[in-house]
Symmetry: C2
Subunit: 410 residues, 2 copies
Amino acid sequence: MTPFLQFILFLSLLLTLAKLGGYISTRLGQPVVLGELLVGLALGPSLINIFHISIFENIVLEEIISDLAQIGVLLLMFVAGLELHFTELVRNMKVSALAGIFGVLTPLGLGYLIGLAFGFEPVPAFYLGLTLGATSVSISAQTLMELKMLRSRVGLGLLGAAVFDDIFVILLLSSFLAFTGSQGEIATIAWVFARMVIFLGISLLFGIWALPWLARRVSRLPISQGVVTLALVVMLLYSFAGELVGGMAAITGAFLAGLMFARSPEKERLERGINAVSYGFFVPIFFAHIGLSVNLRGLDSGIVWLFLGISAVAILGKLIGAGLGARLAQFSWRESAQLGVGMISRGEVGLILASVGMSERLISEAKFSAIVGMIVVSTLVTPPLLRSLFSVEKSKLEAEDGNLLEEEIS
Amino acid sequence: MTPFLQFILFLSLLLTLAKLGGYISTRLGQPVVLGELLVGLALGPSLINIFHISIFENIVLEEIISDLAQIGVLLLMFVAGLELHFTELVRNMKVSALAGIFGVLTPLGLGYLIGLAFGFEPVPAFYLGLTLGATSVSISAQTLMELKMLRSRVGLGLLGAAVFDDIFVILLLSSFLAFTGSQGEIATIAWVFARMVIFLGISLLFGIWALPWLARRVSRLPISQGVVTLALVVMLLYSFAGELVGGMAAITGAFLAGLMFARSPEKERLERGINAVSYGFFVPIFFAHIGLSVNLRGLDSGIVWLFLGISAVAILGKLIGAGLGARLAQFSWRESAQLGVGMISRGEVGLILASVGMSERLISEAKFSAIVGMIVVSTLVTPPLLRSLFSVEKSKLEAEDGNLLEEEIS
């Protein structure tokens, strides 16, 4: 069988099972994304190890699926941006800043303490705390979209907080590396900060001034699906520049690109096409791939307690930290809990930090598996928790005043 | 720069330039596809050699782009199938069979003669003829879609002829390999034939009986873009089975899958989503990739005459053979010429045959470059020739009776 045939057989299988998992998940009252995650986990090295079944023995298959999955998460964040308004997000700046910053500091502090409790030296303990700080909001964004709650106060606060979270963690990481001496002096921190400002400045200026004009031009040209291609190209370039110029996560760039397109008059037409590209192909690959890429077999008995400890800290730290931040910004207790839960899920930034920590010898390989386990747990608990916190509220409000909430939001 | 960043930068560049090339092409009165092909040729090893520019030095980048391009050509044939009706195609069976079979035999005979003229032994000369026989109708299908002529008599005859062409070439190849002794006895030919019948039988039965029901079921489930994913999965599986079970070209499988979906009531909704996926992302990658994957620098002076000779034979052989076949089925001279021109473009089947020939030592490496050059020439001349043959007719008819033709077709 040629590599291409292996590739398309694998794709067919993955897409079918992911969608099937998502469907079964909704039948059980859970969000689609939970089922898609679990399908990936079942197919991955923790259980079936599908990449190493003989019909898929293809040297580049893993790489290709991983690249498609990464385009999937970029599209997911782009679509989340597309559903919001830039001005709405700016209006929620205060809660975003408070929830974002407290949502990093609390798990960082708790992680430091649990590190010391498990006998880490202070520097590695601080680094462990740092890996617990970085949220990855794609799972929550997807769950809120399913619940049609993305444009609620909580949804807007959450997405904004995720941007602050990303900026703050990167600044802390570069400060840490500067102070522990492995990467230059204090000047590097200023440089890290300057790069962020440059990226955010240029991408906002381009998005606000040039993009609406460009989108209108392209939509009038006789190019089939020109606006869809334009959106994909801009999304890819923002992600690229976000990581390479801004030093931030690629998904932050994709989210910004979506926000910018949300202001264009071609948004409606674009949305249909982008949804087909995203949910018809790339996004299910992304969710399934999360499970495909982790190996829970690495969690041997020696580190089970560490794994359980940091998982508890990861969940409670975000819930308390981001929740308190939201409460300080006059959110209700329920809304604060919703926002806190939405920040629980971790993802690629946590993984990247852990890998850097491993290469700097701050984290051993066994401890690395514990961190991976924590990321999986935080990812799996978020959708059902979020859904249950919202569904109580929704049914209560609906009983009170009919469909008002629905209309206001959608 | 990480491999993923290289990948998305490359993608952005490729998509932008392909769409730009397509746009410039339309401004010059040429089909979009010509511009996209030329952009690929300019970026490829013949000129800029973009894969070997330092920022794209990524070991799997070529493989990934090639896989995405192959999904692109499958989508293109799927969309072509989606625009047709199975019954229309069956009604045009006679012209399809005649044009398909004569369209293989004529270039095969002429190729054999030119091979002898260039001093080939009879067996390699026959094999050279065989590589000239296999059409690749994706370029013509795209051009006809742009001209809104796919569902004309010529379009239907052309697509049907391409299916016959594929079947007939595969049968000839397996007969050739059986008789020249490198692959078993006569029984293998029967087996090749039986595999085709099995694949066509099962895929038609499944497509006619099970697929409409399945599509209706999936469209009612609460799965976002479920029908788009279903279509992609079915397309991939038909392509897979077409090649692995049927021994035919994967694009024939994809075309069949499109034909089957054309009968489903979900077709309209599906079409919009699939068009976004195809023309917004995969198809421009396919067209640009054709140019990316050929190296015209291999065409040194020693084989220029062979290259020119087989290019002329490739063009005239299809034009005369398929054209005469159409004429025998009572097409007008103009229609016959249009169908003949539509069959000129060659593609992956020709390349595969040439590679097999090289590994069987029937074709030297230098002669292989001549065949690659022939494929490029046949691909590049088809869109403008087809357009000019149709535009004369279109303007004449429009002058005669207004928009009647347009309405009848679209």
